[in-house]
Amino acid sequence: MAGNILVWIVWVVAALACLGSGIAVITFSNPFYSALSLIGNLASLAVLYLLLSAEFVAAAQVLVYAGAVMVMFLFVIAYLGGRADAPWAGGPSWQALGAVAASAALLVEVIVVIGLKSSGRLSHSARVDFFYGRPYEIGRLFLTDHLLAFEITSIVLLIAAVGGVILGSHSRETQ
């Protein structure tokens, strides 16, 4: 029982940290602070993965995203300088109010769906065997069930890289 409560506390803290840092990413006007908040977001997501017994994914998340990708983000921000337009320059418009209302409606919907309607099925945890979430098992899935999806991901990344080069070389020419 005590273990359950501990899991609950960790979950609530991580979930709130995740939400808070996510909001912080888009509200800071200084991109440097946004990038730092993103680290918090990724780290709290990693904690959530740990709670789901996905240790390998959590480790990969910290290493790849919070480590490598974030360093790259910070480099880019350092290159470009920390200038940015203030996001709230125009004051609240009716569009902003509408967006807030729509997202609030969606939030309520999600809470109702997950919290109330599905409580019967979501309360008991899934049976997780010893191999669940191990690197071996993940690798096996990549090579069997999700072979095509795994290969397609590399194509998507390649196209994104080509696009990055194209758009990047554009801006160099205009300067």
Binding site: V112, I155, V162, G163, H170, E173
Partner: protein, 492 residues
């Protein structure tokens, strides 16, 4: 020992043809001298699309029995093959349209590579049969299109269009992903067939988690099909993107998104049919209303065509909402003349744009029909086809769509569709009127080059091709419907 699944290269061949063409076109950026890059890229890209059409035709011929391949990640069936043929055909015409587009030569090789890759992603998407390949296919062609929209930095609004599409499209993808996660959470299955099985076995239909997931999936796909209320990016992006890209997007993206919507809804959510047919019908009505009413007041032809494409998404969603064999047939048939008319009309707009070196409005089309009879008559035929006049495929398409809705018992949806068609006559005929019934003397614009307008054989070939398909699909109804029947027979 890990036993990898058998890879059915033949089922992937249309996608691989385009991927290969894209790779060769990209190599042109470093290996081919600058002058030759444009013809080289266009030729390679055109061959890729032709190869994809041929490969898809072969897959269509040899896939009478539908089955999942490569770990059931994609489905090898006639539905996917027919959609791949339409997409590759649209891409082929788009290559001809862009061959003489006055774009800076810096990234012309990359342009053709991305065009082929976007086509490959769409071809892949139409065969997707798990939530994972669905999302990856969607991202694949979306990323290619984001870059294609922004590729012409000299063009005012191109970069803005790319950024806008990126942000709104990213939001749509996030919605789709969230919905997929909820569906996976409710059923524990990723493959479309297994989702339906799990729902039936565990009595999950009308389960809140599943329904919320379904709603988000529909919303996410609605963004890609540019159906209202997920359409707000469409006019700005269509207007800002280079016109050949717009032409390709309007035809091929819609084909991929709508065929996939049909596939995922029918195969993964048959138990929720009562819910999603109504949802799709409402989205269709919203698209018809928003598209047609907003198109009435547009002066820019590209914006007008963008709103017209929203309203046509509405027409095609009616076919999906009907959820019967006739509806599937109607959708697949409708996509053929629609793609041709859409590419053709954007190609004519591109020709006029190059002549005037200014955005094309209804006003500055005045007299264009007399100056350039081939393009003028073609554009008139496309407009009449959009409006659903006989002697064009648009007529038969609309007829089948309404018949499908009627078969489903939704007379009200037919009435909405007919009313929308009546409204659309105003702006479609407005273009025809401007082309032929107003003297060009009203216009204070002269061709930039001075003298005779540039002759663009390649673009005219593309327009002629689109014209042939538009009119031909009216006369060749029987074989086309027969093909669509076999394709839709996979689902119903």
């Amino acid at each position: 020992m890990i036993s990898t699944p058998h890879v059915d290269w033949f089922a992937l061949s249309p996608t691989l043809a385009l991927l290969g063409a894209g790779a060769v076109a990209l190599l042109g950026a470093v290996l081919v001298p600058r002058r030759a890059r444009r013809p080289f890229g266009a030729t390679v890209c055109a061959f890729g699309f032709v190869g994809a059409i041929a490969a898809a035709a072969l897959v269509y011929g040899f896939s009478a029995d539908a089955h999942g391949v490569i770990g059931a990640a994609i489905q090898r069936d006639r539905l996917g093959a027919l959609a791949e043929m339409i997409i590759a055909g649209a891409g082929f015409l788009a290559v001809w349209t862009s061959a003489t587009e006055p774009m800076p030569d810096d990234h012309i090789a990359e342009y053709y590579a991305l065009l082929a890759w976007a086509g490959a992603g769409m071809a892949f998407l139409t065969t997707a049969s798990t939530l994972m390949t669905l999302f990856l296919g969607l991202e694949w062609f979306s990323i290619s299109l984001y870059i294609l929209c922004a590729i012409d930095v000299d063009l005012v609004g191109s970069l803005e269009a790319g950024l806008k599409y990126l942000i709104v499209g990213g939001f749509g993808s996030a919605m789709l992903l969230f919905g997929s996660a909820l569906v996976y959470g409710a059923t524990g299955a990723l493959r479309f067939g297994e989702i339906a099985h799990a729902v039936a076995a565990q009595h999950l239909s009308h389960d809140a988690l599943l329904v919320a997931g379904l709603a988000l999936v529909i919303g996410g796909l609605g963004f890609k099909a540019s159906a209202a209320p997920f359409h707000m990016w469409t006019p700005d992006v269509y207007e800002g993107a280079p016109t050949p890209v717009t032409a390709f997007m309007s035809a091929a993206t819609k084909t991929a998104a709508l065929v996939l919507t049909l596939r995922v809804l029918v195969t993964a959510f048959p138990q929720e049919a009562r819910l999603w047919t109504l949802a799709i019908a409402v989205i269709a009505c919203a698209s018809l209303a928003v598209g047609n009413l907003a198109a009435l007041v547009q002066r820019g032809v590209k914006r007008m065509l963008a709103y017209s494409s929203i309203s046509h998404a509405g027409f095609m969603l009616i076919a999906i909402a009907a959820n019967n064999a006739l509806g599937g047939r109607a959708l697949l048939y409708y996509l053929v003349p629609y793609s041709a008319m859409s590419i053709g009309s954007f190609a004519v707009v591109a020709a006029r744009e190059r002549e005037l070196n200014a955005p094309v409005t209804v006003e500055n089309l005045a007299g264009f029909g007399w100056e350039r009879p081939l393009l003028g008559i073609s554009l008139s035929v496309f407009m009449l086809g959009f409006a659903g006049f006989p002697l064009t495929g648009g007529f038969v398409g609309k007829f089948y769509v309404f018949a499908a809705a009627y078969r489903h018992g939704w007379t009200w949806l037919v009435i909405v569709g007919v009313a929308a068609t009546a409204v659309s006559l105003y702006y479609y005929l407005g273009v025809v009127r401007a082309l032929f019934m107003r003297p060009s003397a009203e216009l204070q614009l002269a061709p930039v080059a001075g003298g005779s307008p540039p002759s663009e054989r390649l673009l005219q070939t593309a327009v002629t091709g689109a014209l042939v398909v538009t009119v031909g699909s009216f006369f060749a109804v029987q074989p086309l419907i027969e093909g669509a029947k076999h394709a839709a027979g996979v689902l119903f």
